[in-house]
């Protein structure tokens, strides 16, 4: 027993000192040559687990931004990335945020799941580190009054407005069936849609919840089939969840129009669901892929793979921050914030201009899957069809 205790204390001592000194040594190095370190930005997102695909999109988007911006940063550079994994788990998100604070990053691009973004924001804000989320669309993210919290993507409430408008104005639907998979994001969106339907003279025939990770939706779809709605509103966490749903919808012979949301915007959807994805509508933050800024992004992204739903947002978030840093001539948070508020530039995803609360506005349009591609279909702003 005594020997055991001896080893325990020895181990504790060694491990603590190892962790402690390891950190301190790094600090010393930085203190010696602050200039050479350049700018370090962090990315936060699920690199492992169920949503690893989306987390990697974010990381890659930031990488592309760094590649593009690095030549422009001059004496402030080089810009480096510290990518951390939160596995969409609040505990790991907070731990990762603390690690990023340790690593002396000055901004964090992320996170993906709203449920990870919200708790991770606490320590980051306390340390005056910018957090720019490219993917967390939950309203609460920017409504907590955090000073350094920004959002490049749209908000759930705006997206649901676009969705309902499309269903009533364009599809002339009278009855809708809603399904979500119980995440902060997907359920928030579905609940908003349900609320708006009441005011829009759209009857909600049912609102079902499935669980994350489910692949078998036959029970729910059987109910949908029996209810015969005009539109089936599908709010799922990502394209990997939506694809089996679409396959089963087709297999069950459900002919209803399907409206999904931005999380399913991923080339993977067509790869997985193939022809069953044809004709599916989705609300998506409009990105004109013909603009020079998008092409610049796509070029930089090319070797990292196909851009996902949030790649361009992650890219824009990082670019916006780096532009602000450049304008401020340093990473002092107050100065950068002032510059960030002044920004107004054409990003890869949309025109980037942050509002006082950190939001950047939404630009949702309706897209449709046609011949294995996402195409713009309808613009809720003016109620017009896009011409092809």
């Amino acid at each position: 027993m005594k020997r055991a205790l001896y080893f325990l204390s020895l181990l504790l001592l060694v491990s603590f000192v190892a962790i402690g000194c390891g950190g301190e040594k790094k600090d010393e190095k930085k203190a010696e040559a602050p200039k050479a370190a350049g700018i370090k930005i962090g990315s936060l997102g699920p690199l492992t687990g169920q949503y690893a695909a989306d987390g990697n999109d974010i990381k890659n988007g930031v990488l592309a931004a760094i590649e593009v911006m690095n030549p422009e940063m001059g004496a402030l550079g080089p810009v480096t990335l510290q990518a951390e994994d939160d596995a969409c788990d609040p505990r790991q998100a907070v731990a990762a945020a603390n690690k990023l604070i340790n690593e002396k990053v000055t901004a964090v691009i992320g996170a993906y799941c709203s449920s990870a973004t919200i708790p991770a924001a606490e320590p980051l804000m306390a340390a005056k580190i910018f957090m720019i989320t490219p993917a967390s669309t939950n309203e609460k993210v920017t409504e907590s009054g955090h000073k350094f919290m920004y959002r490049t993507c749209g908000r759930d409430d705006d997206q649901s407005k676009a969705a309902v408008k499309f269903m009533t104005d364009q599809l002339k639907a009278k009855a809708v069936y809603i399904v979500d998979d119980k995440t902060t994001y997907s359920q928030g969106l579905a609940d908003n849609v349900e609320k708006l339907c009441a005011g829009a003279n759209l009857k909600v025939l049912g609102h079902e919840h499935v669980n994350q990770g489910d692949k078998d939706f036959s029970a729910v779809l059987t109910k949908v089939k029996a209810a015969k709605p005009d539109v089936f509103y599908v709010s799922l966490q990502n394209s990997a969840a939506a694809a089996p749903m679409l396959i089963q919808i087709a297999r069950m012979g459900i002919k209803t129009k399907i409206l999904a949301q931005d999380a399913v915007y991923h080339p993977q959807l067509m790869e997985l669901a193939k022809k069953d994805a044809e004709g599916v509508y989705l609300t998506f933050g409009y990105t004109d892929k013909e603009t020079p800024s998008y092409k610049k992004f796509a070029d930089a992204y090319k070797k990292l793979g196909e851009p996902g739903a949030y790649s361009a947002y992650a890219y824009d978030s990082a670019v916006a921050y780096l532009k602000a840093v450049k304008a401020a001539g340093g990473t002092d948070p107050e100065k950068v914030k002032a510059e960030l508020m002044k920004l107004d530039f054409a990003g890869a995803s949309k025109q980037i201009k942050y509002k006082e609360n950190g939001d950047s506005g939404s630009n949702y349009v309706i897209q449709v899957v046609k011949d294995g591609k996402f195409e713009n279909f309808w613009n809720p702003e003016n109620g017009q069809l896009y011409k092809k």
């Binding site: 078998d216 036959s218 990997a240």
Partner: protein, 300 residues
Amino acid sequence: MEVFLQQLVNGITLGGVYALVALGYTMVYGIIQLINFAHGEIFAAGGYMGVILISWMVAQGYPPFVCLGVALVLAMGYCALLAMAVEKLVYKPLRSSSRLSVLLSALGMSIFLQNGLMLTQGVYDRAYPGEMVQGGFEIGGAMVSYMQIVIVGITVALLVGLNTLVFKTRIGKAMRATAQDKTMSALVGINASRIISLTFAIGAALACAAGIMVGMYYGSVRYDMGFVLGVKAFSAAVLGGIGNITGAMLGGLLIGMIEVFAAGYISSEYKDVFAFIILIGVLYFMPTGIMGENVDDTRV
């Protein structure tokens, strides 16, 4: 009525898949009393082998059914080898240690294999090429796809095959004898170690077939798909009475049905709760499952 029929069809398909995976759990448990957590990962590996082989063969231009058949056989062999390797590497050396240690190493193996799949196959879902079997027909308003027919058909064929193997052949007899009493069966000249390996192999092959069918049915596979299904299949094995082959088939079918009907008629978000509550309820009144042997552990 239409809805009911449709749910019944769905339930049978799902239940069949659960039954196939549950068999692996139950057989391994029956013979070495181990909850083989890594079994779900073998199932996932099966799904991936299906994708890999079918994609390759489709690209070579073979007709779909040939692809499916060959892939099924090759992948089943692959999974059997994988399961035997796992057994030899981490379970066999632990045969005499505490059961919790083996359970832990099974858990470790499950994490290891799952992440191994992720590293080699990537985090994205992998799509099955084309729909091999298309279309379907209607009975009384319920849509039955040919895919479901194929799945149920393969499941039944495999179950019949397994039954024949276990109850009609010498190997089956040896397996049952080993499950009953390892020392005695060793005395009559049965190589217990080989029989255990074989049990793992058979269980893995069945799980592999289930993996391929699930992949085809839902159109894609993912590295972590084994976990959720594994837990359900394990519940099915326990519900039927763990260690009992017929019980596992019954349990699988029941869990599939409960899930589909609970989702269809009560609440889709709480469907797993109902499945577990029924499981707990059954175990409360029948502490060894529906078909499990009653072990009197109060004997003095």
